[in-house]
Symmetry: C2
């Protein structure tokens, strides 16, 4: 049986401009965009586009100070950035992963654009960045 805890919440794409990139995802892929939100403390603008059962997140850095801004500068064009999976109890999951020696960026949940989140260190997967999001927090997204 596939655990519901491992549902793919979203795949994120870092883009230089949401205005430039949104039309492809909306008009060509026919995904349904939500509102564009500014996450001031993370120096990004984000928009989620709904697909059945999951979402594509476009992240646009608003200045050069963030990790996503450096990622975009390195790649030089819109690029796939991370995978985010839903877990039922993020705090307990992080404790269990840490006890097993899985490298974590965040050892405690922190507020993300869509709920309480934590990032695993890309070393844990060999290179791919993975985010976990707490299921119970999905109803109360971060709005700063």
């Amino acid at each position: 049986m596939i655990p519901e805890a491992r549902e793919l919440h979203h795949v994120s794409v870092v883009v230089g401009s949401i205005d430039d990139s949104l039309p492809f995802y909306r008009d060509t892929l026919e995904l349904v965009p939500g509102p564009v939100r500014v996450i001031t403390d993370q120096h990004v603008r984000v928009v989620f586009l709904e697909a059945p059962h999951t979402r594509i997140e476009l992240i646009e850095p608003t200045d050069a100070s963030s990790g996503v801004a450096r990622f975009l500068a390195e790649r030089g064009r819109p690029s796939l950035h991370h995978l985010c999976f839903v877990v039922d109890d993020l705090r307990a999951t992080l404790a269990a992963l840490a006890a097993r020696g899985v490298e974590l960026i965040d050892r405690e949940p922190r507020p993300g654009a869509e709920g309480d989140v934590a990032f695993l260190d890309p070393r844990a997967s060999g290179g791919v960045l993975v985010e976990l999001i707490d299921r119970a927090s999905l109803a109360r997204p971060h709005t700063s």
Copy 2:
């Protein structure tokens, strides 16, 4: 309403070694792997891991001749490679996209690991590689 045609079939990750990368996706993310398959004519080994409603595909180049081998050499580590969405009639979708001027790598469906597929040119999205897979073909995967 979200069109069922735009379901995310899988997200693919190019890896240097499925043997090395699989444990993270199976044991840490708790995704459920299928069999590892060799796609001889594409010079890759692939494995799909099931998540609820979607899949993660790990692709390992078996020699240096393929596009995914060059992608891996450029990135130097496992990296997110493409998104694949299900469409109801791939041939008709490709014709409609071409008529709208969307850049395509494949103008006709061709056999892929999981069914009949076509890739959009990354220029269509500004950089992200997108694959489309024909829903009716999902029951008869490529086995060469």
